[in-house]
């Protein structure tokens, strides 16, 4: 299923995670030559532990006899020539040589007290095992000859910075005399043993202290350094100035860094704080650890590699742990390689990464079988790039993104008769290629049409029928046009000119515009946008106009006629109807609604149409069906249709739906309109909503804060024209200095203004502010 670069190796002997409690925080760890024993040293720990196949075995506790500060070790080193010689760096500045051959209980051979402060590191020379080098907090490094038990050389840099880490160059040929030192100020120095007065080279490597360095075991010029700045850096020391080959940023200050043997680009790091893991990094992908190892409960203080796949660590939690690559966690394996998001318009952005080294890994695996020299698998763990695409789902009719904005803008929800609104919206939906929604609008029309019932309904259904058929024939272009015309014809013939078909009925449009104006005026007078009040007001003022037009436009009075309908609605009992027909209609409608497919093609549809022509149509055919329909739309995510229909239906359906559900619908529609930045539509919806919680939204954040133009303080007093601070009238004219009673015009830059006429006159000639404040006001 998934393949990753795992650097797996067939283990020859059973290696497993082993740990040993040293009973005290450990600072350092060193292996003997054969890796059969290790020494763990710390503030309260100094013991030798045997390494067996099955686990660690406690061997010798060196912390015996009279305990003094010499036993508090900051570092420890094991001589790789003489198995019995150990050296430790004590926190009091002594360097202690231990001889395990000593017959006494105490194995201390000698104590060298040449350093003045804590010794941070002691190391033996790889080739000449009698050379011991120490680096101390006092800024000096001392070379001891352990045979003489005396300091032979002292290296003192010009700086008095503390030495944090030192290491001999492992390359005997060119680097026999060379060692590197890391300083508290972040500098790295390269020294030649033969020259004690000054270093060969120095370069700043870190901001803040450099805590650790490690020479690459094979690439003889490579030096890895690490510091408090959370960085691990790899340097090519031959270049001048030193070239940083690679850097790794970790999540915490790095206390130790160690190259992994036989893996050119791998190194292990331990943190000074926070992170208790050992991370192995592949320089090819410096962002995420190649492997992480847990097992410590506190930070790891020292790392020693046994071979490519096994290493030992000791930590502040007092544990000595053997880690095996078998147990490694691979953070890169569990990362999510892709991201996906969908926007409002149905665009899908998708980023996905290449599966890390997938192909290369399999090839490498094969070559591994045939060639004796294994390829450097670390190279396979490389940076992984991601590709990113934006997909569009345009022209996908099954998606509702299309048409949402247009519908929102073009739907008419008020200021016209119910019939007209339904027709208009059905038409809008049809034009936007949403036949289902369109049919539903038409059906609503049929269901709730309440005027000259028997006559109107028959004609209406006739007008719907051909239209739907056309739609069903996937009418594009012409056929749609035909159907509209068809509809118009029918409508006109049946004396319903209120289909609001845009171009075809200018008269109607004009009316709508006019009434819209009136509506707004009414709104202004009545405040609070109470539609009911308006509707009463509206016809009285616009009645003349209405009567002039056409008597069918008397439909327009419907908003308040609708109230009567509700009463009728209660009185109309199903018994009035033929039970059989009623259920037939009900079932069909119900099926259609739930399927959300008012599929006009079904022959039953003809029945629906034919029924009312014979029947005295029920004025309300089971509001429950409509409620179900609205809910179905909501459930399918088409909250727009739900809310629009709800508004248009108004009192006809409101009572059948729980108010909180309605409120939730309104809220989510308003929110979605917000997504599309359709503020005008949103405001209209809010205004048309009968639910107090929603309609009060328009009253939020309507306060305008004013500031005094003299002292620039906010006017908090009871009156808006007097500043309480400076006791001046805020709205005086800058030209005539009299208070402005009507239109006050002011510059938003300098807050000065006045009578509109005065200001106009002033700026006809001048550019600057009339008060002389120097502002170049830009009245235009």
């Amino acid at each position: 299923m998934q393949q990753f670069v795992h650097d797996k190796v067939n283990y020859t002997k059973p290696e497993h995670h082993m740990s040993f409690n040293c009973e005290g925080p450990a600072n350092a760890l060193a292996l003997n030559k054969d890796a059969t024993m290790c020494v763990v040293a710390g503030r309260t720990v100094f013991r030798i532990v045997g390494i067996e196949d099955h686990g660690f075995v406690d061997r010798i506790n060196l912390r015996v006899g009279k305990i003094n500060l010499n036993y508090c070790a900051a570092d420890v080193a094991w001589n790789h020539h003489d198995e019995n010689i150990l050296a430790s760096a004590a926190t009091n500045g002594s360097v202690v040589i231990w001889n395990l051959n000593k017959p006494n209980r105490s194995k201390q051979e000698c104590v060298l007290t040449d350093h003045k402060r804590t010794v941070n590191r002691v190391i033996f020379h790889k080739a000449d095992a009698s050379i011991l080098l120490s680096g101390s907090q006092d800024g000096t490094m001392k070379l001891f000859d352990i045979r003489k038990h005396a300091v032979s050389l002292t290296f003192t840099g010009k700086m008095s910075e503390s030495v944090r880490d030192i290491q001999f160059c492992p390359h005997i040929g060119s680097g026999y005399f060379m060692f590197a030192a890391a300083y508290d100020n972040g500098n790295i120095q390269l020294w030649d043993m033969r020259r004690q007065d000054r270093c060969i080279k120095q370069f700043p490597a870190h901001t803040g202290p450099a805590f650790s360095l490690d020479w690459h075991p094979e690439e003889k010029d490579w030096l890895a350094t690490a510091g408090r700045d959370k960085m691990i850096k790899v340097w090519d020391t031959t270049q001048n100035p030193e070239r940083m080959i690679k850097s790794v940023q970790t999540i915490a200050s790095v206390a130790r860094v160690k190259w992994r043997p036989q893996r050119k680009l791998h190194l292990a790091s331990a943190s000074l704080l926070l992170d208790h893991h050992v991370n192995v990094w592949a320089l090819g992908r410096p962002y995420i650890p190649f492997a992480t190892f847990d097992g410590h409960k506190d930070v790891v203080s020292s790392i020693v590699w046994l071979d490519t796949h096994i290493f030992f660590t000791c930590g502040k939690d007092g544990y000595l742990v053997q880690h095996s690559f078998k147990d490694a966690k691979r953070p890169a394996d569990s990362v999510i390689p892709s991201g996906v998001d969908m926007d409002l318009f149905g665009h899908v952005s998708h980023a996905f990464g290449e599966r890390t080294g997938f192909k290369k890994a399999s090839q490498a695996g094969r070559s591994f079988l045939f060639f004796s020299k294994a390829p450097d698998k670390g190279d396979l763990f490389t940076e992984s790039r991601s590709d990113m695409y934006v997909h569009t789902t345009k022209h996908n009719l099954t998606l509702p993104f299309e048409g949402f904005i247009e519908s929102a803008k073009r739907y008419k929800l008020s200021n016209s008769s119910f019939d007209a609104l339904c027709d208009h919206n059905a038409d809008v939906a049809r034009r936007l290629n949403r036949p289902k929604v369109s049919s539903c609008w038409s059906v609503l029309h049929v269901l709730f049409c309440n005027k000259h019932l028997s006559h109107s309904i028959t004609s209406r259904t006739n007008s719907v029928a051909p239209n739907d058929k056309q739609d069903n024939n996937k009418g594009t272009g012409k056929s749609q046009l035909n159907s509209t015309q068809d509809m118009n014809k029918v409508n006109v013939k049946d004396s319903t000119s209120d289909d609001s078909d845009g171009e075809s009925s200018e008269l109607d449009n004009k009316l709508l515009v006019d009434s819209g104006l009136l509506y707004q005026q009414a709104d202004f007078f009545f405040g609070d946008g109470e539609t009911d009040g308006l509707d009463y007001d509206n016809p009285t003022s616009s009645f003349d106009m209405l009567t002039k037009v056409d008597d069918d436009l008397l439909d327009y009075k419907l908003p308040y006629e609708a109230i009567q309908v509700r009463h009728e609605l209660k009185t109309v009992s199903p018994e009035d109807l033929e039970a059989g027909h009623q259920t037939l209609v009900g079932e069909q409608k119900h099926n259609n609604m739930t399927d959300n497919q008012i599929s006009p093609s079904e022959p039953e549809d003809e029945n629906i149409i034919s029924i009312p022509s014979k029947l005295d149509i029920p004025r309300i055919s089971q509001p429950q069906i409509v409620v179900d329909m609205l809910k179905t739309f909501a459930q399918q995510g088409d909250i727009q249709s739900t809310v629009s229909m709800l508004i248009v239906l108004g009192d006809k359906i409101r009572q059948y739906i729980d108010e909180e559900v309605q409120e939730a619908w309104f809220q989510s529609y308003i929110e979605i309109l917000g997504y599309y930045e359709l503020w005008t539509v949103s405001a209209e919806i809010i205004k048309l909503c009968h639910i107090g919680q929603v309609s009060s939204l328009n009253q939020q954040s309507t306060t305008i804060h004013t500031y005094c133009s003299q002292c620039s303080r906010q006017i908090l007093g009871k009156v808006g024209w007097l500043c309480e601070k400076c006791k001046s009238v805020t709205n005086s004219c800058s030209i005539c200095h009299l208070p402005v009673r009507h239109m006050y015009i002011w510059c938003q830059g300098c807050c000065h203004g006045g009578h509109i006429d005065h200001i106009k006159d002033w700026f006809a000639v001048n550019n600057e502010c009339p008060t002389g404040c120097g502002h170049m006001c830009q009245y235009t």
């Binding site: 999540i251 892709s338 980023a351 940076e383 993104f401 399918q636 809220q667």
Partner: protein
Amino acid sequence: MVSVLNTIDTAHEDMVHDAQLDYYGTKLATCSSDRSIKVFDVRNGQQTLISDLTGHEGPVWQLAWAHPMFGSTLASCGYDRKVIIWKETNGTWAKLYEYSNHDSSVNSVAFAPHEFGLLLACGSSDGTISILSSTGDGTWDSKKINNAHSIGCNAVSWAPAVTPNALFDTGNRPPTVKRIVSGGCDNLVKIWREEDGQWIEEQKLEGHSDWVRDVAWAPSIGLPKSIIATCSQDCRVIIWTNDGTSNTWSSKVLQKFNDVVWHVSWSITGNILAVSGGDNKVSLWKESTEGQWVCISDVNKGQGQISEGQRTLQ
């Protein structure tokens, strides 16, 4: 029909882990293993790099945009155990807040519905979920759900702010309950509810047989019904539904995919689910009127991926 509109050169130096569009779909934020977050302006089909946010010290796993009423605010989380909240003021992005109280990698961030204020949930590999809330005066409060998922929490998502059981509560309006769904390495999906300032486990959904990689609570549909989509390394996407009347959740497996499913994401309108899997494909799903989930769209294979030949050239 899905076609590639454009490709975006993110210029990230390593794998991109998340890409999120803001509320209005005008800004795209991407985050990567290379520790950086990039914000692009994606209006008019163009993409221009607005900002390159650096501040994380490890790979950045996930991003979340806050509601625009809080300004241009972005939250990010990463391997460095940090959650960083970024804010744009006058065109420049800066750190608004940094939360570093997790003990392991933070895998997921999600902003709560805006009704609850500036509130953020973060799921971490240390098994906890933390809830960060802005007090409004620049300081932040944090609450923690300890041991939310053993081994680690991979994803969090907020329930929309709707009144519970709206249909059946005719009396006093109950306060809107805050709920979170989370998915973790214990193969479980859990639903959490805030009660008296404490987060309690309300529901444990068992159904996946491997790590749950992403969870997504569908936006409000104006009904008391709740829908959650979860995806897992067991290659399945499960749709969990609750009718709002009881405490039981029914599950339906969308499909068993051929590879790990990394992400599930709901559209704002229309309840369309985008699923992104290990095969680098995105598919869009919608519930049919019969209650079946059908794939309505699939990334066109020829256009959606780089061919092998191109890849080797790179």
